[in-house]
Point group: C2
Chain length 116, copies 2
């Protein structure tokens, strides 16, 4: 988790903006596409931006970039920029992001079971 | 899950508004207070409205009522109205709601571990 995020979270706890730890986790994963991003990076390995973009119907670049930036600031994903032309950027789960994967997989499984 | 919700979800899948099952689950639990409500009902048993209200600093009646109504429509919680005076309403997890509890407990545990 970034130092920036940690101090922001500590501030929120001090100000009673977070009631508890559950809200912390939800604040990290509850963006509309975040769980899906974590699932794909965790279960299928690193993805390029364009590959992530294709996963979502009708998403805008602005929204996807924002979700990726949030996840990066929260220490859940990281990106590697290859210093070659054409520019290539790959996103992958950090070690901390990997600890969220069991929850994300359970979220997927629950949705699957309850759609049947 | 209510018939109403199921048909709404089926419509969303048809229209490609949901990419996948993960989004279904997130659409059910990602209201700001929903995970917290599920955690308390699941781990501490049924709660009266006033007891739930006290759990959240600065929540409005309008917001709490909306979150409870969503969860009820999604088949996650149910309420029992006692036919006595003064009126007493208790909320509890449904059998389907109980299947979400392991995920909610993991969400809590993850937040706890990552705040330390």
């Amino acid at each position: 988790m970034s130092i920036q995020l940690r101090s922001e979270i500590e501030r929120k706890f001090r100000n009673k903006e977070f009631t508890c730890e559950k809200e912390l986790t939800m604040s990290i994963i509850s963006g509309k596409y975040k769980v899906v991003i974590i699932w794909h990076l965790g279960n299928e390995g690193s993805h390029r931006y364009s590959e992530l973009f294709k996963l979502f119907k009708g998403i805008s670049n602005r929204i996807l970039t924002k979700q990726l930036r949030d996840l990066e600031q929260d220490g859940i994903i990281s990106r590697h920029v290859y210093p070659v032309a054409p520019p290539k950027v790959e996103y992958f789960l950090t070690d901390m992001g990997k600890t969220l994967l069991p929850i994300v997989n359970d979220i997927w499984r629950w949705g699957k079971e309850n759609m049947q």
